[in-house]
């Protein structure tokens, strides 16, 4: 139902391509998270800021996000990752230099809502 609602909302905005983007970490990781978050000084293996590494295989990063309680699969409203990306209840919105565009946050929301598949 959640997926239908999200896809319907995107379709209503006339954004078919946005609705077709895969809500899988295998897509989200190379297109959004690694370029935006795993930069050399931040959440890369080299920087490991806040001891959080957001690069590697989708399975590894997915496990990291779940084990560290940044993502609760199926529960986007309760997942702290989205609070960081939206700036809700946190001191510093991520990424700190420029926030992700709403379309990317929508995709990550959909990914969590669909169980956060790798």
């Amino acid at each position: 139902v959640r997926r239908f609602v999200l896809l319907a909302a995107l379709a209503a905005c006339g954004d078919e391509r946005g609705a077709q983007r895969p809500a899988e970490l295998s897509y989200i990781l190379p297109t959004i998270l690694e370029p935006s978050c795993a930069t050399a000084r931040c959440h890369s293996q080299h920087g490991a800021a806040a001891e959080l590494v957001l690069e590697g295989s989708p399975h590894t990063v997915r496990d990291t996000l779940v084990k560290k309680s940044f993502v609760y699969p199926g529960q986007p409203a309760g997942s702290p990752l989205l609070n960081y990306l939206r700036g809700n209840y946190v001191e510093l919105r991520m990424p700190p230099d420029a926030p992700l565009p709403p379309g990317d946050i929508d995709l990550i929301t959909r990914w969590i809502a669909e169980g956060a598949p790798p």
Partner: protein, 373 residues
């Protein structure tokens, strides 16, 4: 309002200190005229620092009686040239949403540079502080980084053929189009993203060509395991220059093919340089079933020399990471004023407002000091 002294917030990293408007100002058509690197960029050569202390600085009208030559930074010991570069910035970042404005004091750079030259061969090495390493990594070496170190061969110091190998930033366009996101996140041109590779080219008065093969980037996630190359050519005609660039990057994460054009036009009567750049990329993601997307980045603006050493710029920038998806495109207006009171230091005040997707926006203002010792 929150304050933080940034060690961790070195993540915010730096903006480009790219000033292509100097290129056509005094007939120094080649960037290598003022930089050690054959394609320009990076540390300035002794001649470049001499220019910074002379016609490019405001010392002539700020301190008319000053001795410019005494203010040239760096030390030249014949075949060996030494310099230290430091940068400190105060950033105010206002992003739409509940977090409000943030202030950051950012030590951006502290690098020592050495350049040695013997006959046709030259070498450059930099060693600086590394602001972000694993907290559990307590080795002293983890606090230092050498972002560039390379050797070059150029039989004719005035131009012609050259070759270079080592760690350096590959020549690729102006790198001005949405530097914050497109350039730093997607083209392998962020801080610490200098790759190991080899480069060769031709430096002429009317044109120059640079071909670079990038083999390994020890730090950055998006480019560490990327193999690829860039090709950059620039032709100059009078007060103008037109450049074209190609970039290919292949890694298990993505395959990227980028083509770009840029143009520079110096209007002497107005002491102004017009700058424009357009990049288009086709990206494919093998781990996501070969999903693909088309990207566009653009820049258009000008730099006006209000007085010697006092420059101002205004520009529009565009970055669309997927042209078919709504809600991703960034539009930005950026402006800066730079004052070079002396050859060894510079102060820049900059601002950048961006509209992100449909309804997000961000406004950043930064005061940056740049000091050469």
């Amino acid at each position: 309002v929150k304050w933080s002294l940034a060690v961790a917030l070195l993540c915010v990293a730096s903006t480009a200190r790219a000033y292509p408007h100097y290129q056509l100002r005094d007939g120094e058509a080649r960037c290598s005229g003022c930089h050690w690197a054959p394609a320009g960029g990076g540390p300035a050569s002794a001649w470049g620092r001499h220019q910074a202390a002379g016609p490019l600085s405001a010392s002539s009208w700020l301190w008319p009686s000053g001795e410019r030559s005494d203010d040239e930074p760096g030390v030249s010991l014949g075949w060996l040239d030494l310099a230290v570069a430091t940068r400190l910035a105060l950033l105010r970042n206002q992003i739409s949403g509940p977090t409000g404005a943030e202030w950051h004091l950012i030590p951006m750079q502290a690098d020592t540079w050495a350049h040695a030259e013997r006959g046709s061969f030259s070498a450059v090495a930099g060693l600086g502080l590394n602001g972000a390493t694993r907290l559990e990594d307590q080795r002293v070496t983890s606090y230092f980084v050498s972002r560039e170190h390379w050797v070059a061969w150029q039989p004719d110091a005035e131009g012609g053929l050259y070759a270079r190998a080592g760690r350096f930033m590959a020549p690729f366009g102006l790198r001005l189009a949405d530097h914050t996101t497109y350039v730093r996140r997607y083209t392998g041109h962020d801080l610490l993203q200098e790759s190991y590779g080899a480069s060769g080219g031709w430096l002429g008065d009317a044109f120059e060509v640079h071909a670079t093969a990038s083999l390994y980037n020890p730090y950055a996630a998006a480019g560490r395991d990327e193999r690829g190359g860039t090709l950059y050519g620039e032709a100059r005609l009078g007060p103008s220059a037109i450049g074209a660039s190609l970039r290919v990057g292949d890694s298990p994460r993505s395959r990227r093919y980028t083509g770009g054009v840029n143009a520079k036009l110096r209007l002497d009567g107005l002491a102004t340089t017009l700058l424009a750049e357009l990049d288009a990329t086709s990206a494919t993601f093998p781990r996501a079933g070969d999903e693909s997307r088309e990207e566009i980045a653009a820049y258009g603006g000008f730099v006006a020399e209000l007085k010697p050493g006092l420059n101002a710029s205004l520009a529009y920038e565009l970055w669309a990471p997927d042209v078919e998806v709504k809600g991703l495109t960034r539009h930005a207006v950026s402006a800066w004023v730079t004052l070079l009171p002396r050859g060894s230091w510079e102060v820049q005040l900059s601002g950048r407002w961006q509209l992100i997707g449909r309804d997000e926006d961000a406004l950043a203002a930064m005061l940056m000091g740049y000091f050469w010792l």
